[in-house]
């Protein structure tokens, strides 16, 4: 599945673990690399990510709904009450999804096609209901966040990201969704909140004293 290439900035060999990756970083010269079919474009330099205490890291493996996945990338966001991670996870069948980790609360979601037009960024207020899969999802939080940085492989390029608006969706059970207003029309992610133990994560970070 992996794809080999060379960094256009420093010439170092680059390995894409996930064949559909669009953006990655050169591990040697920190260049941000964006793939266009066969060409790889150097679009900038990655910034160091702030220290954080997520137990997850690139190459962490786990199981979701009986399917094995591996963490191949990460987006870091910051909002007024702290930071959170969106870990990009690739499944054995080539699909990818997101494992979000906010202060050790976890959720897995997938990019899906909306079944009806999503509310506009102005309409997305707490309490608004959205129909999806025959269920009512309620907007419970509207989060304004700053894009902090990335590592590993991503399914899209992030070079135009700065201020972000997200609307969190909830149901009476543990279903979970996010509307991402970084694009027009907005993107919809659907999934559910999960227990740490349920994911059977391996290759985690260690914590001093634990």
């Amino acid at each position: 599945m992996s794809v080999q290439a060379n960094c256009p900035a420093c010439g170092a060999p680059i390995t894409f673990m996930w064949s559909s990756a669009v953006q990655t970083a050169c591990p040697y010269c920190k260049a941000i690399l964006v793939r266009h079919d066969v060409n790889i474009e150097n679009v900038g330099e990655v910034a160091d990510l702030p220290r954080d205490a997520s137990p997850i890291q690139i190459l962490t493996e786990g199981i979701f709904d009986n399917r094995r996945f591996m963490v191949i990338g990460r987006l870091v966001y910051q909002w007024e009450q702290g930071g959170w991670n969106e870990w990009h996870i690739a499944f054995d069948d080539g699909r990818s999804g997101w494992l979000s980790d906010a202060q050790a609360e976890y959720a897995v979601s997938f990019h899906v096609a909306p079944q009806a037009p999503l509310p506009s960024i102005e309409q997305a207020r707490r309490g608004l209901a959205i129909q999806w899969g025959g269920l009512n999802y309620i907007i419970t939080h509207r989060t304004e966040a700053a894009y902090v940085g990335f590592e590993g492989e991503l399914p899209f390029r992030t070079t135009d990201r700065e201020r972000m608006v997200f609307a969190d969706l909830r149901t009476p059970d543990a279903r979970f969704g996010t509307i991402d207003y970084s694009e027009t029309p907005p993107l919809l992610y659907m999934g559910r909140q999960v227990d740490f133990d349920e994911l059977k994560l391996r290759n985690l970070r260690m914590f001093e004293g634990w």
Binding site: P27, D52, I58, G82, Q103, A104, I138, A174, L204, F207
Partner: protein, 440 residues
Amino acid sequence: MASPAPVVKSRSLNCPNCGGVVELRGFEHSRSAVCVQCCTIIDPSTPELKIIQRFSEKLRVRPLIPLGTRGNWHGAPYEAIGFQVRCINVEGTEYCWHEYLLFNPYKGFRYLSQYDGHWNDITTIRGLPTFTQVSGRKAVEFGGRTFRHFQHADAQTKFVMGEFPWAVRVGEKNVVDDYVDPPLSLSAEMADGEINWSQGSYVTGAEIWQAFKLKGTPPTAHGVYSNQPSPFKGKPGQAWRMALLLLCGWAALLFFFVISAGNDLAFSANHHFSPVQGEQSFVTPVFELDGGNKNVEVELRTDLDNNWAYFNLALINESTGQGYDFGREVSYYHGVDSDGSWSEGSRSDSATIPRVPGGRYYLRIEPEMEATASTFGQTPRGFNYTVNVKRDVPSTWLFWLILPFLIIPPIITSIRAAAFEGSRWAESDYAPSGGDDDDE
């Protein structure tokens, strides 16, 4: 590549106010850390260690679980890393409880709360409770359970120690609504226009002392806590089911007892009594009472109307002359007054004589009636009556004596269960008295 170090290092910082060392236990999750030496709240996530607040050292409260203590809790090690005292004010009285923040670097945060010896294990919930009503009161449904609204209050933070993954401030107020379905509770905290839901589960101090290997004994729990499980839960139903079962047995026995009794009519005769004829003592023909020491019931049925009569009776054995003397008064009055129609007494009466040997018997009957007993000066009217003598009638008094013993236990259990719930709800917004006016 800006890959994180595989081992996350713990760190400490120097208090920007007093220079004292503040050990961090929550790694990079901590958004506030309190310097114990000088009661300064620091934001460890800022490079310059921004001071969030300083508060008075007089506010100090000693936590029962020392910070840094680890215990095996819900299948994983958790460390107590934060402690706060929060209070609500109800009609001028302050009620305060303690909250401990527990942390595991993989499983995240949970809380323990303690009020007057009552403990709760608290976690944030997944999913969104839905609002509903139970008997006209606010309630929420979540996870297949219905939680009834208990209290609406402004909770104010009075003291903090240790670390928190948000910016804490002494004096900060949050609107809290508590809903209960013992042993669980749901709390909705309003913060910046958003509702944060958490679920509490009642636990005993002993469980916490054991899990965290604490010294001494946990504080004694006083009163009944909002989501404390009732020791009587399900007991009234159980007691009533048991009583019902016993009642069925009781009724079956009674039925058997009644149908197995002979209940034979040994003698019956109709008579007329006229008061103007004076004394009218007479004896009946002889009748047979079958063998054995069985009871005899003498029944009098009259057509008295707003009148009374007295019967002197004797059941006499023809061969031995042995008699059983007894008297019976029959009176029946009725009428209509401002409260509607009324009646008093009964037209018939009976007497049961126990253990009468078999043989030939007759009755001596002497009815009496006040000669002037008629109303409004009319000519005194007599009355008709029937005398029935029954052999071996079922005697059921013992059954009725036992009956209360079957019914009293479930009644007592129900009362005690209701008293427990009464104590629980006496602390709520829905206390029967106390004039609490923030019911919504």
